[in-house]
């Protein structure tokens, strides 16, 4: 499954594009489509693609626990899941708390309106989240008569903004989500465009290479027939019976005695997989440690990071820090506030709700992190005040 997030200014055509992707890839359930088509035929009206998305989401309501919704489509090459956030706040919150994990992103820009405020804000957020695979879809080409000059203008605009935030779009593609031009199929009306269609561009992106080293955050400890079993997800690499693994925070090492799953035992487990492990000698740890081997895991007591706040945050505040299963107390210091549109930085001791800024975090004990780019699960953190999320960030 390849996860793609679509962002862009309101009304630039996100929902229409998603509807088009579903429809052209034949991913709308046949029955539902037939039912809708019959009404549209009977009334002589065209179905609006942006609303097809709802027709699908409704089927998956049961799975939805967060504010973002996912829809799925298949290309000739692979399965895609599209993450659609109703607003950038939800999107950001979900990215930071780990609810969604995108492999690539599509930034959609209305060719008639050009780059607008939210276009910039979203582009900046993509950068903040370490999203480097960005495809720009210049939408509504039909509204400008598929004019190449106008396309190049908007392309230059958005490309230069992206460069200022340190992003380099992999493709910039002229599309009409409404007509389906250059979405899956190539457009006859834009012969001047020689590059890939949107889905061809997505298909050409390699899957994220899994981080090769074994990492398993311990979520819980169970007693099974007198033996302590450490339970958690293998988030990267693999582990075999007999391997030597290290335990963060304790300085201890041990051998893997058993790998236990619901219906028996395994010789080996690879990420992603939830397992139980018994160790010899038993390190007697609890929730919050990470089992690992291979390249050393970095322990830190201070972190400097760009964070996104959902609540006000002040210099000197004491908060709760968490990264995966690890929890610690911390004291934060706010350095500066960053305007996501002008990118202006201003010294500040406070960050308001929904603001972005740079802060320093001093932890009351060592936590073990990786860079977000290499292993997102250990590369993002959340700050809480009495259990409520205040903000979050990622580790570069």
């Amino acid at each position: 499954m390849f996860n793609v997030v679509i962002v862009g200014h309101v009304d630039h055509g996100k929902s229409t594009l998603i509807g088009r992707l579903l429809y052209d890839s034949g991913s709308v359930p046949e029955e539902k489509l037939k039912e809708i088509r019959e009404v549209s035929d009977s009334l002589g009206r065209e179905v609006e693609f942006s609303y097809l998305v709802d027709a699908l989401e409704e089927e998956r309501k049961g799975e939805m626990t967060i504010e973002t919704t996912r829809t799925f489509f298949k290309s000739r090459k692979r399965d895609y899941s599209i993450i659609d956030a109703p607003g950038h706040l939800e999107f950001l919150k979900n990215m930071i708390t780990g609810a969604s994990q995108a492999d690539a992103s599509i930034l959609i820009v209305d060719v008639a309106k050009g780059v607008e405020e939210q276009t910039k804000r979203h582009a900046y957020l993509l950068r903040l989240l370490g999203m480097e695979k960005v495809v720009v879809a210049i939408n509504k080409m039909d509204l400008v008569g598929n004019d190449q000059r106008r396309f190049e203008e908007v392309k230059d605009d958005i490309s230069s903004y992206l460069r200022t935030v340190g992003l380099n779009p992999l493709f910039v593609i002229p599309i009409s989500a409404y007509l389906g031009d250059n979405v899956i199929g190539r457009s006859e009306s834009m012969r001047w465009y020689k590059g890939p269609t949107l889905v061809e561009a997505l298909d050409s992106m390699p899957e994220r290479a899994g981080y090769p080293y074994f990492r398993m955050p311990v979520q819980d400890v169970y007693l099974v027939r007198g033996e302590r079993v450490y339970v958690g997800n293998v988030i990267s690499g693999r582990v075999r019976k007999g391997d030597e693994v290290h335990v963060t925070g304790s300085g201890k090492s041990a051998r893997v005695e058993k790998i236990i799953v619901l219906d028996g035992e395994l010789e080996e487990a690879r990420a992603p997989k939830g397992i139980g492990i018994s160790l010899d000698p038993d390190p007697m740890i609890g929730r919050g440690s990470i089992l690992w081997n291979g390249k050393g895991l970095k322990g830190v007591k201070t972190i400097e990071s760009t964070v996104f706040c959902t609540e006000e945050l002040k210099s000197g505040e004491e908060l709760e820090f968490s990264c995966s299963v690890q929890e610690a107390g911390c004291k934060v210091e706010v350095f500066e506030r960053i305007d996501p549109i002008s990118l202006k930085r201003r010294e500040s001791e406070v960050l308001g709700a929904n603001e972005i800024g740079r802060i320093g975090i001093r932890l009351d004990k060592e936590v073990f992190v990786e860079s977000f780019k290499e292993l997102p699960e250990l590369g993002r953190f959340v700050l809480r005040r009495k259990g409520m999320i205040v903000g979050g960030g990622i580790i570069r």
Binding site: E35, I36, V39, R45, V47, Y51, L52, A55, K61
Partner: protein
Amino acid sequence: MLGLDGLEYHYVEEFGCKNLMQKSYGMTDISEFKEPRTVVIWSSFLAGKNLEERVLKEKELWSFKLKPEETFFSKFEKWEALDVPGFTYNVEMHKRERELLKGFFEKKNTIEDYDKVALEDYKKMKEEFFEAIGKDYEIVMGYFALADVIGHLSFGVKAKMKLIYEELDSLAREAREYADDMLIVSDHGMKAVGRFGDHSDHGFWSIGRELDLGRPRITYFYRLIEGLRKA
């Protein structure tokens, strides 16, 4: 006048149906009724008073019929009321819809079968309506059950409901061309229950002039219509 059964305020706004909104629009307050029942609300609308008790005494709810002199139509010289529940309702035609609704839950027919009949009935009524407003009536009320009927099995399927609301929006646009003034009223709106729809606790009104009615009761319109007639 358009009586649009089950037209939901929130969808009118979400789908941007400008012709349904007209110059002034809002919700109606139907909290005085124990349940948002179609015949009860339309009858009360026509009579300008709450007829819930009287209508519920009727054995066959859908057969309840007011006399013309009990309705605001009696204030006009030449009037036409097409298929209006509680008054000139075509019981036979709508019976088919209700049977197919039941049939769907009993797995005897599909949603498509049901939608098809609803659309056919709608188109038939639309023709009759445009024929009537072409004549020299003082007031014509067309009743259209489409949004309610389709909504019962599909209110949660937005792509479909959008088509229905667009259709009603263009109905309103065309109808407006024939009239000096137009009032649009729904008995109740709907809310999604999964893919299905249930009656909601408010109706919809709109009128082709600047008028701040707030959230009127359905019985309020009797006086409004009477007033328009005098003006």
